[in-house]
């Protein structure tokens, strides 16, 4: 095991970095998509429940199958990996964003409108900042989940630690195959832990004292 890590240390570091970078970038993209989607639907009850339903069903789709399906139109490489990771990352964020935005007291929104804030300004300066802690907890759930999804993306020759897992699994029983799988799995767990710490830090920095629990 240590021998395996020692031999391929630079390679592991590079794959870890790529894995992390894929997840982080997809998470940002997913957050933007999810928040935009949530702001479009949260005022409307039936649209909100439709979005929540889609998000619930979406989470039941096996990520492995999803990536397999995407290979046909997009081929191998980064594109299908990004699509799948972003898709799965967006699901929990959409739900939380809708809950967060809908949970803001109507009197707050009314008082914002009452002192002359436009609909858009109210959304950007009042509603989204107030919903932010809830959205961020959705992002944290997403981050944990898509760390694993990103590993599966290696099946489509995407970047990241998934390569160690797949190459190990395909030669199981062979020399150092198990070590390879183990390195992939432990790497993913460590990365997930680091990302969560970072997100907690972001939460501390971006949540005003007035709405901290």
């Amino acid at each position: 095991m240590f021998e395996f890590v020692g031999e391929r240390f630079r390679q592991i570091l590079f794959a870890s970095w790529q894995h992390f970078s894929l997840v982080a970038q997809c998470l940002i993209l997913a957050t933007i998509i999810a928040v935009v989607l949530a702001t479009l639907v949260y005022k409307n009850k039936s649209l909100s429940s439709l979005a929540n339903g889609v998000s619930a069903i979406g989470l039941t789709v096996p990520s492995f199958a999803a990536i397999g399906l995407l290979i046909a139109p997009f081929g191998f490489g980064v594109t299908p990996a990004v699509i799948v990771v972003t898709f799965f990352a967006a699901l929990p964020i959409v739900r939380n964003a809708i809950v967060g935005l809908a949970g803001i007291s109507p009197s707050i929104v009314e008082s914002a409108r009452g002192i002359g804030m436009s609909r858009f300004r109210t959304l950007v300066t009042i509603e989204l900042p107030m919903a932010w802690p809830v959205i961020l907890s959705g992002i944290r759930v997403s981050a944990q989940m898509v760390m694993g999804v990103a590993a599966v993306a290696a099946y489509a020759l995407g970047p990241g630690l998934g390569g160690f897992i797949f190459s190990g699994l395909s030669r199981l029983g062979g020399a150092k195959a198990f070590d390879s799988v183990l390195v992939g799995v432990i790497g993913v767990v460590i990365l997930a832990f680091i990302l969560d710490l970072i997100l907690i830090g972001i939460g501390r920095l971006t949540t005003p004292r007035g709405i901290r629990v």
Partner: protein
């Protein structure tokens, strides 16, 4: 704090045949309401819940768009202008202040000036000025968050925020509904003090008739569908309720409500023997005995009352210390006699200590003074008749028409404000 001035900075408001009809409802929420709100006065909307008074209020700043009719502020028709621009020129206060929890007190107050593009120095100076105006120390409260304030303090910040850009009109939707009675009384007194300084046009919705009588220059009593039942001064509504509906709304104690009409600063206060911390108790005692009074009032260095001492307490003391007694009955000179009597009853005391601006000691008020004021108020005639115009078109109750005609003719007779055209009803 800004210099006080007598100049009216408020604007007149005219609702001209304003109707709000919600789709799918047979009756309009507000039906053809014509209402004149004079500049610089406080107009109270009262009525049972669901009568359309809040809808009417929100149509003034077009949070709710009227289905038909015109809204004219200071002679300018604002019915078609951009709603957000309009609302930046009108202060708006709701229950519990409606503060944004993720912003500090200063940031909350600075919102409208920021939208209007003021520079930073001007904004921060204005924030401090407003906090002073609502009796909150800027150094302590500027950087706090709303959840770190009491209900009354949040309400004060809400008022400060509404006044931030010095709007001519202030709309308040049951602003003091969510605070305890003592805080409410204090906030009402403060609002009157602030109004004496800023002279805005204030329109306030309330369900509390006592509050309406205490704060209002004019009271509009609404029935369902925002049908205006009576629109007149508090004195005349109390003395002369238009019909049974108003009578019921006023409640049975109309005679006692006269107490709400008179303020502490309108009656003669009793002088008191005052003492400062550090004085010899025996000196104060001999002054007290000379005057025939029972208690001396201890003031602090800024002449604010801190406690009262009886003869017996004085005889036990050597030197007067600066202990503060929180249970001392204390009323502001803006309080009503009703508030003062209430305070005395709560503390089982025959007298209450009266304070003026910035809590400076003014004198004492006692039960006899209040009793005399009641009998005076009951006999005083309220003859003047310059009530602003208000009525509904369409299904007009005969009474409203009579009132309108009376108000119209008196307006013409006095050569005062133009009587407002009401379309089909004239």
């Amino acid at each position: 704090m800004s210099e006080s001035s007598d100049a009216i900075t408020g604007a007149s408001i005219l609702l001209d045949q304003v109707t709000k009809q919600y789709p799918g409802q047979a009756k309009p929420a507000v039906g053809g309401l014509t209402l004149e709100i004079p500049a610089g006065s406080i107009v109270m909307f009262v009525g049972p819940s669901g009568c359309g008074k809040t809808t009417t209020l929100k149509m003034i700043n077009r949070l709710i768009e009227p289905s038909s009719g015109k809204i004219v502020i200071n002679g300018e028709d604002v019915t078609k202008m951009d709603g957000d621009t309009l609302r930046r020129r009108i202060g708006y206060v709701i229950q519990a202040g409606g503060l944004f929890p993720h912003m500090t007190v200063a940031a909350n107050i600075a919102i409208v000036p920021k939208m209007l593009g003021w520079n930073k120095e001007k904004i921060s100076a204005r924030v401090d000025e407003l906090l002073e105006l609502v009796s909150l120390d800027p150094a302590i409260y500027r950087d706090r968050y709303p959840k770190e304030l009491s209900g009354g303090q949040q309400q004060r910040v809400g008022v400060a925020r509404a006044l931030a850009a010095d709007p001519p009109v202030l709309l308040m939707d049951e602003p003091f509904g969510a605070v305890d009675p003592i805080t409410r009384q204090r906030l009402q007194d403060e609002l009157l003090n602030i109004q004496a300084e800023v002279q805005k046009t204030i329109v306030m919705v309330t369900h509390d008739f006592d509050e309406a009588v205490k704060l209002g220059n004019w009271i509009a009593v609404f029935d369902e569908g925002a049908q205006l039942v009576q629109y007149d001064s508090p004195e005349r509504i109390l003395a002369n309720p238009a019909n049974e509906f108003v009578e019921n709304f006023i409640g049975s104690g109309a005679g006692l409500k006269q107490l709400t009409l008179t303020r502490v600063n309108e009656v003669d206060l009793v002088d008191a023997i005052t003492a400062l911390p550090g004085e010899l108790a025996s000196d104060v005692l001999s002054r007290l005995q000379g005057s025939g009074q029972q208690q001396a009032v201890v003031l602090d260095s800024r002449r604010r009352p801190v406690r009262r001492l009886s003869r017996r307490q004085l005889s036990r003391l050597q030197i007067i210390d600066d202990t503060v007694d929180d249970s001392m009955p204390l009323v502001s000179d803006q309080s009503t006699l009703n508030d003062a009597l209430d305070t005395m009853l709560v503390s089982s005391s025959e007298t209450a200590v009266v304070t003026g601006r910035r809590d400076v000691f003014r004198g004492l008020i006692n039960v006899q003074t209040i009793m005399e004021a009641i009998s005076q108020a009951n006999s005083a005639a309220t003859a003047d008749s310059d009530a602003p115009v208000g009525l509904n078109s369409g299904a007009i109750p005969a009474l409203a028409v009579e009132n309108a005609i009376a108000a119209d003719s008196s307006g013409e007779a006095n050569g005062q404000a133009e009587p407002q055209s009401t379309g089909e009803s004239r």
